[in-house]
């Protein structure tokens, strides 16, 4: 074909045809389908509402076992079991502290108001005072 330029030629149509009366019968058929569509009565809900409802349900479902997890042991034997678990689980003191609230930390605070004599006594009686001095 010689040099072909779309702009220099009359419009080339796609070449498609349709069956006779296609559009008449299409619209009639479509409208009968539309009239048969079940009527939806929105309960003033929208996608956002459903999303938040689903999210709330999910959070509830996840917190139920978590609430059970956090039930504090009441009996002495349960407490002992808990203490042993914490002691031997490999959890560090820093990790335990991170799990505590400030008021819990305040409760277990010990008053270390020692006098000078007590400090000196502790240092001198220990075998590794050099370590404290050199490190």
């Amino acid at each position: 074909m010689k040099d072909f330029k779309l702009d220099n030629r009359p419009k080339i149509t796609p070449g498609f045809t349709v069956p006779e009366d296609y559009f008449e019968s299409f619209s009639a058929q479509l409208m009968s389908q539309v009239r048969a569509e079940p009527k939806v009565f929105p309960l003033k809900t929208n996608k956002k509402t459903w999303f938040f409802a689903a999210a709330a349900l999910l959070i509830l479902a996840l917190t139920i076992p978590a609430i059970n997890e956090f039930q504090i042991a009441d009996s002495p034997s349960e407490m002992a079991a808990l203490e042993n678990y914490i002691a031997y689980s490999g959890i560090t003191d820093d990790q335990i502290v991170e799990l505590l609230e400030n008021e819990d930390i305040e409760k277990i605070k010990i008053d270390y108001s020692l006098d000078r004599a007590e400090i000196e006594d502790a240092l001198y009686s220990g075998p590794s005072i050099e370590n404290y001095l050199l490190n």
Partner: protein, 186 residues
């Protein structure tokens, strides 16, 4: 492209579409006025008449079902055309997958079928043009068809495809160059 609504008229028409008392009558009006241009738009993409019929049906049913969700942020025509475009693309993707083709292989197969298609009466030039278009990247095909075959304005295509006018102009320009080169070749 149906240009029968001034902005004020479009608001009133949308109100009628959303009101259950007037919805069916308004929808039938919308159907009669959009069915041909939408059919042409879809047919240009899927090529086969029966496939275009299926996609057109799905398009209008979706328009009807999702009317209540139409917020009016875009014009009604661009919303409807966007649904039609997405339906046609989904259809083609599913067809390709079913046949184990890439989308471009599927397009090539559809064009090859045109020669024996009852609902195609194009001559050799028209058939060669269809083949030339089918060799373009998918987006370029769509832009070319909407601009050249359907004679849509760049602004209208931009609203439908969500692509800037500048990008569309560049895409069309490249498409034309490739088509002209193919049409010139033997």
């Amino acid at each position: 492209m149906p240009k029968f609504f001034a902005l004020v008229d479009e608001h009133e028409f949308i109100r009628q579409l959303l009101d259950p008392k007037t919805r069916n009558v308004a929808f039938e009006k919308l159907l009669r006025q959009y069915q041909r241009p939408l059919y042409n738009h879809i047919r240009n993409m899927v090529l086969d008449h029966d496939d275009a019929n299926d996609v057109l049906q799905n398009t209008f049913l979706k328009v009807f079902r999702y009317l209540s969700g139409f917020k009016g942020e875009s014009k009604l025509f661009s919303w409807i055309y966007r649904i039609a475009t997405n339906e046609a693309i989904s259809f083609l993707n599913q067809k390709s997958k079913r046949n184990g083709f890439t989308n471009l292989e599927q397009q090539a197969a559809l064009v090859a079928n045109l020669q024996t298609d009852t609902w195609f009466d194009g001559d050799q030039v028209q058939l060669k043009l269809q083949k030339a278009v089918s060799l373009l990247p998918e987006k370029q095909q769509l832009v070319f068809k909407m601009k050249y075959f359907q004679e849509m304005k760049y602004e209208e295509i931009s609203e439908i495809l969500g692509t800037s006018v500048g990008a569309l102009k560049a895409s069309f320009h490249h498409a034309v160059k490739k088509i002209e080169s193919f049409m010139t070749s033997d």
